[in-house]
Every structure is written in structure tokens, then in C-alpha cells.
């Protein structure tokens, strides 16, 4: 629901014109020959004006910024914990996680609640953009040319006409996140 609303909202926003959306529509029609198995559905979002995507299957829900309680003695990319209907869920600040400068929290800031195995984790992003369908053949393995996010977190690059969507490996984010924080606490 949120995503649909966002899509509408996004139509006028900078950088992505109606033209782009037109293109996307056309692509979708073009992509009809692909079966569902060949299509990757991504929830795409922005961090520092770059578009990223995560597999829609790991997305539990998308939230507006609720109250976040700071968690002391945790790595700085852990923004804190939120109350998701009685569950205490850690929130990772994507900007800090991927080494971007801190951004402002505004109306567009969202937390994408990701589910990995038994754990839920929130990823705070600048803006949730849309749901895109990309044929799997259009997904390349990550090249070293990608700036910013280190390659451990990237599972691939999705090409969509003139757009590039960096597909994040969520399992790895959570895994590394634990791994690294363990290292942090050990060191």
C-alpha cells in the first residue's frame, strides 16, 4: 500500500520524470514473454540519490520513521530499536552502514523491515521509490566500479533501460552486520 502511494508521490519528484515512468511501463509490457521465474521483483529505494533494490520477498513491510530508541554500546550504524507491534527490532542506518555521510530524516525517510530467517531488521533509507520488475538476464554480477557500497553487500546490478539498480544482498547485510559487530566488540 505504502509503495503504491509512494509511486504516485514520486511521479513529480526530481530526477525521475513521467517520462521515466512511461518507459518503465513500456518495459513491463515488453517483458511479458518472461515468466515469473525469470523476473526479479525489487523494492527500490534511494540512498544518497543512488537507487538500490532488495528482493521483494525479504521485505516484511515499509514504515515511516517511528520513534527510535538509541541502543548504547552498539556500532554507530545501529540507529536504535523500534517497536514493531510488540517486537523490538534493530534499525540499521543504511547511510552509515555503507559509509555515506549522514542525511536528514524527513517525510520521505523510510524503514524497510527485512526478514531474514528468524530475525527482522529495519533498514533506514532516504526514500522508498517503487517496485520494479527486472528480468534476471538483465542482472549483472557486481563490478568493482560501483562506488560507495562495498561489494560484500551487493548481489548484482540490475539494468533497466537507462537505469542501474544496485541490488543489495540482504542476507549478507544482516550476516556481516552481526559478524562485524562481533569483531567490533572483540576488538
Amino acid at each position: 500500500m505504502d509503495i503504491n502511494r509512494l509511486m504516485n508521490k514520486q511521479k513529480g519528484s526530481k530526477g525521475y520524470t513521467n517520462h521515466d515512468l512511461e518507459l518503465e511501463k513500456n518495459e513491463t509490457i515488453e517483458e511479458e514473454p518472461y515468466t515469473d521465474n525469470d523476473i526479479l521483483q525489487l523494492v527500490s529505494f534511494l540512498i544518497d540519490d543512488v537507487e538500490y533494490g532488495v528482493d521483494i520477498l525479504v521485505v516484511h513491510e515499509i514504515l515511516k520513521i517511528p520513534d527510535i530508541t538509541r541502543l548504547p554500546n552498539t556500532p554507530n550504524f545501529i540507529k536504535g530499536v523500534i517497536n514493531l507491534r510488540g517486537n523490538v527490532i534493530p534499525v540499521v542506518d543504511a547511510r552509515r552502514r555503507f559509509g555515506f555521510p549522514d542525511g536528514k530524516i524527513d517525510d520521505l525517510t523510510r524503514i524497510i523491515v527485512l526478514q531474514n530467517e528468524e530475525k527482522k531488521i529495519g533498514l533506514m533509507v532516504d526514500n522508498v521509490y517503487q517496485v520494479v520488475r527486472i528480468p534476471k538476464v538483465n542482472v549483472d554480477t557486481p563490478s568493482e566500479l560501483i562506488e560507495g557500497v562495498s561489494e560484500e553487500f551487493i548481489s548484482g546490478i540490475g539494468r533497466l533501460k537507462d537505469r542501474l539498480i544496485i541490488i543489495l544482498n540482504i542476507a549478507n547485510i544482516i550476516f556481516l552486520e552481526e559478524e562485524m559487530s562481533r569483531m567490533d566488540s572483540a576488538g
Binding site: 520513521i65 520513534d67 527510535i68 530508541t69 538509541r70 541502543l71 548504547p72 554500546n73 552498539t74 545501529i78 540507529k79 536504535g80 530499536v81 523500534i82 517497536n83 507491534r85 510488540g86 517486537n87 523490538v88 527490532i89 534493530p90 530524516i105 528468524e118 530475525k119 527482522k120 531488521i121 552481526e178 559487530s181 562481533r182 566488540s185
Partner: protein, 1087 residues
């Protein structure tokens, strides 16, 4: 490969466990009261249902054993067997075997117990009874001479079996006797037999086997077996079931029923040979007679119905049948009762509890809507209706919450009763006479605790029996009663459940423990000398620690107590030991009331709220900066002669403190194990019941945090893990070298924490003058407020006190006053020149205060306005203060006086009442009289006021004001009266209150007198129970006080767990206040 009984396994295991417990406890009763038919019936019934359920899940061996046991019990019930110790023992043995089988199944393995021996034993014990039974049938010899007699005992059917057969037959099944001959040459004949029984068990029910498979000897050339078997399958199935290798012959004889009058007769009918030759051998001829016995009895009865005396002997079958019927009725009744309880998994309950918690939170959203509605809607009735519904819903949600909470609670009795058996066995083994006394069985504990408490109790009881209790001879010698007593007790104490294991044995030998501790290198001799006994006793919890001279199979290896400590700690509990040489030992296990909800003290650092589990809190105190001493880079205070390490919570959670430089510092003294530290926080917010949520569930364990909790408004507060914090402090202390410590303290000061330096400060000689001097001269701590306020964490939770119902017990008056203080400070400082000698600090104070003032959000102003709503441009208190030329310092002086007074008062009260009482005077305010009712509370409610006039150089009235509910509560608490119920003060109550006022009032007056060097005399207190305004009017009228202000001192009484708030007011006469202030100044100045 794991073994499973299928989908019913869990139910069966749980049921079986309960049944065994019941059997055990009943059998113990029977042992004491062997002739009680009720108990026998109970045991019988339980054994029967155990048998059925075991059969149901396919544990045929178990079912068989239970069946044998049932037979034995049947014999007792029928009066054919006497309850002898042997029988009791064998039944106990049966229980053990059954228990062991159940445990094997529970662990996922196939039970491979050999039951033949125990069955054999049961039969041996059961047989004499049957031979008694045999004596009568002898009379039937004429009917079927010779043959019956010789074979009857071989395959005897008890009444139960008869009834079973009858029931099966009447339900349309069939019953037959299978005569099976096993080949002479076969090895392990009992395996063959077992195979057949197993096969038969799958298609029907084996009623009786003679001899039992285990009794089949390989050497016996005559290997024949008779099986009475019920099924509803046809011959083909039976044949296949028996058709295994080396079975020579199988003959099937059907049993049918016939009815003659009221008597039911079982008769043998046609026979069929499945395997082997049809020609009946000589042995086989005799077989019909075997079953025939009951049949004959009945037949006999039918035949000889005129012979009354004989029929009396023979109608067992009928009587039994009748009784069986009543049994059934009983069982049905029991079943009906049983269905009233439902077994629910804890997970489901937790889920439910979670949901209800969410409901409560969701519901709180309506309060906000209501507030909005109220503002915009003119239609009051709708708004009120909305409010009523909303409140109704909130009540229901709360009820639901408590209800679910209660479902987790289980009575401890079921655990306690298990130990009766243990103690009985142990007593036999050790040849000691011990009585187990059980108290407080109906005390309820959290299911999780109940599940875990068994093991620690087991160890404690074993220890008590093995080491605690002396031998009978020794007891006799010492003049103790020969029967020792071990007591299990459970009761509730405050927020804890206490479980006690006590014995009247020899007690712990402290010297032995000391010696052992030193021997094992746990401690050196010097340290031991300084340890108190409770610390020494704690050594027994160390792994491998045992003072036992020899290791028995029960105890002595030094594992048990470690396990006890470990399990109890895991449940947030504690173990304490009380012991008296020669008199006995008492272990007290303390558990929190429930694990789901814990009481916690809420503390705040800036805007971040943290919870400290109340179980970890020793006390809360307020200290001033000058109380803090730095020893080797660590801040410590002297708390009643004890050096207490301090840990600043804000440093631990790595944010800046918002503590003001000159305010009292709230410290939560927390303890874990034997260690205590003081935790410096910004604010104490009060007590709250919180639900613990794990952080590991979605994240991981974080150092220093025990979890999180969701508060009533949906926000998250983090729960501090005191154990790790204390360990951290200890670790730091031990790790740091002297140099490093110095570096650390330098670094700290660079960071902006200027630590109070008081190397010449001698904690031993702390006097009032010292306090005040230190207070005056101490350097205020400068906090980098600017930096801190500039970067407000945009998402950090700001607790919104103005909206919604408050989940936090928030000390409103204190908050208001502290707000005002901030306000006042800047006001005062900007109006008045700063005090001499402290210029730079005061300037920065002003800056800080301005900053703070600027960043104060609107809700704070709202709160402030509630107090001084009508006045504009500041607080009236300030006007009075400036008019009287009373500075903040003077007020602080008053506060110190009040605090010292309160401490004195609490001490004397504790002594008089022999109860622990703490009270504090946290805030001192000057207020215009007309504002007092508003400040203190409600104009409409009635109060208890105790007035005490004072004369001398200072005049006026001291008024001790209590909301009447708190007042009555206090009187009741102190004197055990019931004035609360009547809402009326009797003479005792009055004298109690007068006394309290006397104590508090005089304490304060004494301090004032001492500090001002004036003479002040208090009068006898007078009690008024009236509306607030009337009370004040009374004072003003009777004392003709002209002044329009009063000094309010908020008093909080901590009486055990209760907290009562009262106000101590001083209505100064004419210029008395000025006199006091001047006196104080003069005195302080001269110092």
C-alpha cells in the same frame, strides 16, 4: 533414529508423568494407612488409565506391566492381599520402571527395558492371594473333576480381566484362548512369545498371558503358552499373528458369554487349530478349564441359587461387575473434571500476552483522540460517551493482561509432593528417620520456575538428608527427637516467592568450610578472617566444593550446590543460607513473582529512559557533588561507612549527562552477588512494572543491556543488565594500572567531567558543618551542555508526558519544581549579582540554564503553568523570595536542613517502631498560601493535618499534611490498625500521627536551631482531619499568622515497599523566616 510414539506422544508423556506423580503420592499415603480402600481405589484407577494410555500409544510392555500392577492392586482391593511393605516396595519399583520407560521415550529412544523380572515378582506376590481365591472353587470339582483344579492357577483371570472380556464381547468383539506350543529346539523362546504378543497387540488386546514370555525357559521342553486375547479381527489375522518360525501348534478356543438371570457367564466354545495337528494333546484337554473358573462361579451361582451361603461365596463376579460400574461412574466424573483444564503452551500464552499488551497500547491512542475531540466538539454527550467506552475498553484490556499473566502461575505443591517419595527412599537407604513436612503447597509460581525448581530442590533435600541430618543414634545422644524434620516451605514475600528447604540437623560447619576454601585456594587466610559468615557460606556454591568426608552416591562430589546456584540465578533468583550449629540449616531460594513482568526502577539520562530491575536495586540515595571522592581514578562515596564505587550511567551509555552542577545527584545503589555499586543517573522516574523483551530475538546480546521493554505509550525503554555493569566496574578497577588510572582521570577531565577533588576529604568525620561547607565550596561540575543540546538526536525518543495516559510513575511535583528551579536560577542570577567567590561558575551556570531554558519544550511550560497559572511573568515564589531577600543558596540551605532532619527522623522512627523506614525531603519550596492547595493537591479532597506550633526565637506552625488515604495507610502500616477501612482516626492513629509529626518536625527544628544557634521549642501537635483550605485557615486563624507564604517540604516515606507522600509545611510567623535565613547566613559565614 529417534523413536516416537506418533502424534499423541507429547500428550501421553505429560499425562503419564502426572499419573505417576499421583500414584507415588497415593502409594505413600497407602503405606501409612494400608486399609484405606479409597486410596487403593485411587491408585487402581490411575494405574488403569496409565495402562490404557500406554496401550493406546503402543507401549505394550508398559501397558502390560501396569496391568500386572493393576492385578496386584485388585487383589488388595478385593481384600485377598494384605498391604505389606513388600507389596508397597514392588509397586514403587514398578513406578520407577514405568518412569524410566517414559523418560526413555521422552528422550526419543526405543525403550528396551526387561520387565520380566519385575512382573515375575509381582506375580509371586500376587499368587498367595490367588491361592486364597482357589480354595472355594474346589467345590466345583464334581462338575469338572480333576482337570480344573490342576490348571486353574495357571491361567487365572481376575475380575478385571473378566470384565474386560465381557465388555469386549458385548461390544461385538471376540475373545479367545490361544494355546501355543513352541518347538523344543527353539532358542530364546521368550523372544518368540514376545513376537507373537507383539503381533497380537497390533490387531487386538492381550488380556492375559500364562506364563509370561519372560518366564519361558529355553531348557523347558514343555514350552507352551496360553494367551487370552480379544480382537475384532477374524481367524486369518490371528493365524498370521501367530505364524512365526518354530511354532508347532496354535489352537484357538473362543469364549462366549451367556446370561442367566443377573449372572453373566463366560463360556468356552468351539476351538480351532490354526497350525499343527488338530489332534488335541493331553495337555490341551485341560485348557478349557482354565478359563472356566469364573464361568463356573457364575454357573454355579445360577445352579445353586437356593444355597444362599454358597452363592455368597461365588458371586464375586457379579459383585465385581457392579463395582466396576461404579468405578466407571467415578472415572466419568473425573473425566468431566479433567476437561475443565486445558493445556496450553507457554509460547502461545506469551504471544497472547504480547497481543494484549499491544491492545493496551493501541487503546491508549484513543485518549489522544479523545483530547482532540473534546477540543473541537461542542456535543459533550458524545464525547463523554466516547470516553466511557474508551475507559471500559482499557479496563477490559488490563483485566485481560492480568488474567493471562495469572495463567502462567502454577502451584508449587506438585513439585513438593514429588519429594515425599525421594525422602522416603533416602530415609530407608540411610537408615535415618526423617519426616518431610510440606507447607505452602498452594503458593503459585511462574511455570518456568516450577519447571526448573525441581533440580535445585532435589540437591538441597539430598544434601539435607545426607549431610544435614544426623544419624538416629547421634540425634538421640544430643537429646533431639529421633525423627528428623526436613521442611519444604513456599510463601510470598513482597514481590518475591520464597522457597525454603530447612532441616533440623547439625548445621553448616563454618570452620570446615573456611578450611576447605583455603585448601582449595579459593581465598587466603587473611581475607577469610575479614569475611562474614554469609560470605563464607557462599563458598559451598563454588564448583567442586564439598566438605563431605566421603563421597556417597547421593552427594559429596560438590556438584549439587553449584547446580542449585546456577539454576536459581538463571531464574533471576537468589539463594541465602541460614544455619545454626546443632540446630539446623535453612536454604532460602528467592524468585521473582513472575518472569514475564518485573518491577523496575525507571531512571533517565537526558531524555533516554532506562529500567533497572528492582531485584538488583539495593536503595536509592541522593548525594551532592562534594560527597564524591576520587580514589585512583574511580569515583566513590562513603555510604554509611562503606566505600561504594560509582558508575556514571551516562558514561556507560556514552551520552552527556544533563545533571545540573549544584543539584543533588540521584544515585541508584545496585547489587549483584556480594558486590554493590552506585549508579549515577540524571533523574529517578519512579517504579514501573515492565515486560522483558529480548534483544537477541532480532539482534544480539548487547553488553550492559538485559533486554528491552515496551512502555504503555508504545515507546521502548532499555533494561540495564546490572551484573555486567558491576563486572565491568570490577574489571576496570582491576585492569587499570596506576598510570593508566591517572591517564583516565585526566582524560575524563578533558572530556568535560570535572571531578570533585577532595583528597583531604575524610569520610569518617562527616558532620553537618562539613556537608554545608563542602556544598558551598565544591566546584560545580561543568557539562558541555551547548554541544549536547545543539545536536539533539532527531529520532531519539522524547517522552511525551502531555499526551496519552502515562505509563511512567512520574513524580510530578518534583519535575515541576526542578523546572522552576531552572527558571528561577536564571531569573535570580540575572536579577541579583552572583555570590562572591564563585563568579566564573555562576556565569557558566547562567549560560547553561539559559540553554536549557531555551530548549525546554512546550510541555514543560504547560506543567509549570499548571502551578502558577494565574500569574504572569514568573512565579510568585520568586517574588516572595526576592522580597524576603532569600536566595537560592538559602533555599538550598533549607533543603540540606530538611534532608538532615529527615535522616534523623527516619532513624529515630526506625528505632522506635523497629521497622525499616526511610524518608526524604526532596524539594523545598516557598509558596504563597493561596497557592498551597493547588500545589499540594486537590481542594476537594480531605487531608489529615498535624499542626505543631513552635515558640522561641522562631515562631510559626509546622504542618504535616497527608492526603487522608496515605495518612490512614501510614498509620495502619506503622501500627497495624485498620483506620483505612473506617476512614476514621482513632486515638491510636492520632497519637501515631502526632508522634510522626513530632519526630519529623523536631528533627527539622533541631537542625535549624543548631545551625542558627537559636532556641526553638515545639508544642504538642494537634490533629485536624478536614479539607485542605479549612486546615490552613485553622492554622492562620488560631496562630494569627500574618504572612502569606509558607515553606513546603515534600516528604516521601518509604516504608518497606510502599511509598507514601506527605508534605511538611512551615508557616513562619512574622519575620521568622527572615530570622532563620539571617541566622543561617551568620552562622555559615562565621564558619
Amino acid at each position: 533414529m529417534s523413536f516416537s510414539l506418533g502424534e499423541y506422544q507429547d500428550i501421553f508423556l505429560e499425562e503419564a508423568d502426572e499419573q505417576l506423580q499421583e500414584l507415588n503420592s497415593n502409594l505413600l499415603k497407602l503405606e501409612k494407612d494400608p486399609n484405606n480402600i479409597e486410596i487403593i481405589n485411587d491408585i487402581f484407577r490411575t494405574a488403569h488409565s496409565l495402562k490404557s494410555s500406554a496401550g493406546f500409544v503402543g507401549l505394550n510392555e508398559l501397558s502390560n506391566l501396569a496391568h500386572k500392577m493393576e492385578n496386584l492392586l485388585q487383589g488388595i482391593r478385593d481384600g485377598m492381599l494384605r498391604v505389606t511393605p513388600e507389596i508397597i516396595n514392588i509397586i514403587f519399583k514398578c513406578f520407577d520402571v514405568i518412569n524410566s520407560i517414559i523418560e526413555t521415550v521422552a528422550s526419543g529412544e526405543q525403550p528396551t527395558h526387561d520387565l520380566s523380572r519385575i512382573i515375575e515378582e509381582i506375580q509371586r506376590l500376587g499368587n498367595p492371594g490367588q491361592s486364597v481365591k482357589e480354595t472355594k472353587p474346589v467345590k466345583q470339582k464334581e462338575k469338572t473333576p480333576g482337570i480344573i483344579k490342576t490348571n486353574v492357577h495357571l491361567l487365572d483371570l481376575n475380575d478385571n480381566d473378566k470384565n474386560e472380556i465381557f465388555n469386549r464381547l458385548s461390544e461385538g468383539g471376540r475373545c479367545c484362548i490361544l494355546n501355543i506350543s513352541i518347538d523344543k529346539t527353539a532358542q530364546m523362546k521368550w523372544v518368540k512369545a514376545q513376537l507373537i504378543l507383539g503381533n497380537l497387540g497390533r490387531i487386538g488386546k492381550v488380556i492375559k498371558t500364562e506364563p509370561s514370555p519372560g518366564d519361558l525357559s529355553d531348557d523347558d521342553p514343555d514350552s507352551k503358552m496360553k494367551i487370552i486375547f480379544c480382537t475384532d479381527r477374524n481367524n486369518e489375522f490371528i493365524k498370521n499373528a501367530c505364524d512365526i518360525d518354530l511354532i508347532n501348534r496354535v489352537e484357538c478356543i473362543n469364549i462366549i458369554t451367556s446370561r442367566t438371570g443377573n449372572a453373566i457367564t463366560l463360556q468356552v466354545a468351539d476351538s480351532l487349530v490354526f497350525i499343527g495337528t488338530a489332534e488335541p494333546s493331553t495337555e490341551i484337554v485341560s485348557f478349557p478349564g482354565i478359563v472356566y473358573e469364573p464361568v463356573q462361579i457364575a454357573e454355579d451361582k445360577a445352579l445353586h441359587s437356593d444355597e444362599s451361603d454358597e452363592s455368597d461365596d461365588y458371586d464375586i463376579s457379579e459383585i465385581q461387575f457392579g463395582r466396576r460400574m461404579t468405578d466407571r461412574a467415578d472415572t466419568d466424573k473425573k473425566k468431566a473434571a479433567a476437561t475443565k483444564t486445558v493445556k496450553v503452551s507457554i509460547e502461545k500464552l506469551d504471544q497472547l500476552l504480547n497481543n494484549v499488551g499491544e491492545l493496551v497500547i493501541a487503546n491508549s491512542g484513543f485518549f489522544r483522540i479523545y483530547e482532540e475531540l473534546r477540543k473541537i466538539t461542542g456535543d459533550k454527550s458524545i464525547v463523554n460517551e466516547f470516553k466511557n467506552r474508551m475507559e471500559g475498553m482499557s479496563r477490559i484490556a488490563k483485566d485481560l493482561q492480568t488474567g493471562i499473566m495469572k495463567t502462567r502461575m502454577v502451584q508449587i505443591g506438585q513439585i513438593f509432593n514429588r519429594f515425599k517419595r525421594l525422602v522416603r527412599d533416602l530415609t530407608k537407604e540411610f537408615k535415618k528417620e526423617i519426616e518431610l513436612v510440606i507447607k505452602g503447597e498452594d503458593t503459585e509460581l511462574d511455570k518456568k520456575v516450577i519447571d526448573a525448581i525441581g533440580e535445585p530442590l532435589l540437591h538441597l533435600i539430598r544434601n539435607a538428608v545426607d549431610h544435614g541430618v544426623e544419624t538416629t543414634a547421634m540425634r538421640k545422644e544430643m537429646g533431639k527427637s529421633e525423627t528428623a524434620k526436613i521442611t519444604l516451605n513456599a510463601y510470598q514475600g513482597g514481590n518475591h516467592i520464597l522457597v525454603e528447604v530447612s532441616d533440623d540437623g547439625k548445621g553448616l560447619d563454618i570452620e570446615k568450610i573456611k578450611k576447605k576454601a583455603i585448601d582449595r585456594g579459593l581465598v587466603n587466610i587473611e581475607t577469610v578472617a575479614n569475611m562474614d559468615s554469609s560470605e563464607i557460606f557462599n563458598f559451598i556454591f563454588s564448583p567442586g566444593f564439598s566438605t563431605a568426608d566421603k563421597v556417597t552416591d547421593l552427594s559429596g562430589r560438590g556438584v549439587g550446590m553449584t547446580v542449585v546456584k546456577q539454576i536459581v540465578s538463571e531464574l533471576n533468583g537468589a539463594v541465602t543460607i541460614e544455619t545454626e550449629p546443632g540446630m539446623g540449616t535453612r536454604f532460602i531460594l528467592t524468585f521473582p513473582l513472575t518472569l514475564a513482568i518485573i518491577p523496575a526502577i525507571m531512571v533517565r539520562v537526558q531524555k533516554e529512559l532506562y529500567a533497572i530491575p528492582l531485584s538488583d536495586v539495593v536503595e536509592t540515595i541522593k548525594i551532592s557533588t562534594s560527597d564524591i571522592t576520587t580514589i585512583e581514578g574511580h569515583e566513590v562515596i562513603n555510604l554509611r561507612g562503606e566505600i561504594l564505587s560509582l558508575l556514571r550511567l551516562n558514561q556507560f551509555i556514552k551520552i552527556k549527562s544533563s545533571l545540573k552542577t549544584d543539584s543533588k545527584i540521584p544515585v541508584v545503589v545496585v547489587g549483584y552477588g556480594n558486590r554493590k555499586i552506585g549508579l549515577i543517573v540524571d533523574f529517578l522516574e519512579g517504579k514501573l512494572e515492565i515486560v522483558i523483551k529480548s534483544l537477541e530475538q532480532n539482534y544480539k546480546t548487547i553488553e550492559g543491556l538485559a533486554g528491552a521493554s515496551i512502555l504503555g505509550d508504545g515507546s521502548i525503554c532499555l533494561i540495564l543488565d546490572i551484573a555486567t555493569m558491576i563486572n565491568k566496574v570490577i574489571f576496570d578497577q582491576e585492569k587499570l594500572t596506576r598510570v593508566e588510572r591517572r591517564q583516565l582521570s585526566e582524560k575524563k577531565s578533558n572530556e568535560g567531567y570535572e571531578l570533585a577533588e577532595s583528597s583531604d576529604y575524610d569520610p569518617g568525620e562527616l558532620s553537618i558543618a562539613d556537608i554545608s561547607e563542602n556544598f558551598k565550596s565544591s566546584k560545580p561540575i561543568i557539562f558541555d551542555v551547548e554541544k549536547n543540546e545543539e545536536k539533539p538526536d532527531a529520532v531519539a525518543k522524547e517522552i511525551d508526558y502531555t499526551q496519552g495516559p502515562r505509563a511512567i510513575m512520574f513524580d510530578e511535583p518534583e519535575q515541576i519544581s526542578s523546572d522552576k528551579n531552572i527558571h528561577d536560577d536564571s531569573l535570580l542570577h540575572s536579577e541579583k549579582p552572583p555570590m562572591e567567590g564563585s563568579k566564573p561558575q555562576v556565569l557558566s551556570d547562567i549560560e547553561i540554564n539559559k540553554k536549557i531554558k531555551d530548549t525546554l519544550s512546550d510541555f514543560r511550560n504547560d506543567l509549570k503553568e499548571r502551578v502558577s497559572s494565574t500569574l504572569q511573568g514568573g512565579d510568585i515564589g520568586d517574588h516572595i523570595k526576592s522580597k524576603l531577600n532569600i536566595s537560592k543558596e538559602d533555599l538550598n540551605e533549607f533543603q540540606i536542613i530538611a534532608n538532615i532532619g529527615a535522616t534523623n527522623a527516619a532513624e529515630s522512627m526506625s528505632q522506635i517502631l523497629k521497622k525499616r523506614i526511610e524518608l526524604s525531603i526532596p524539594m523545598v519550596e516557598i509558596k504563597p498560601i493561596e497557592k498551597i492547595p493547588e500545589y499540594i493537591g486537590s481542594i476537594e479532597s480531605s487531608y489529615i493535618g498535624v499542626m505543631m506550633t513552635i515558640h522561641g526565637e522562631i515562631k510559626g506552625t509546622i504542618l504535616f499534611l497527608l492526603n487522608d488515604v496515605s495518612g490512614f495507610d501510614m498509620v495502619d502500616l506503622l501500627y497495624g490498625t485498620t483506620s483505612r477501612e473506617k476512614m476514621e482516626l482513632d486515638e491510636d492513629g492520632k497519637s501515631a500521627l502526632s508522634e510522626i509529626t513530632n519526630i519529623i518536625g523536631s528533627s527539622v527544628i533541631n537542625v535549624i536551631a543548631e545551625k542558627t544557634g537559636m532556641v526553638i521549642k515545639p508544642d504538642v501537635p494537634v490533629i485536624v482531619h478536614d479539607y485542605l483550605l479549612s486546615i490552613i485557615d485553622t492554622i492562620l486563624a488560631t496562630q494569627s499568622i500574618q504572612n502569606d507564604y509558607a515553606i513546603i517540604m515534600d516528604t516521601t516515606f518509604f516504608f518497606q515497599d510502599d511509598k507514601l507522600i506527605g508534605n511538611l509545611l512551615y508557616f513562619p510567623d512574622s519575620d521568622s523566616l527572615k530570622t532563620i535565613v539571617e541566622g543561617l547566613r551568620a552562622n555559615v559565614g562565621s564558619n
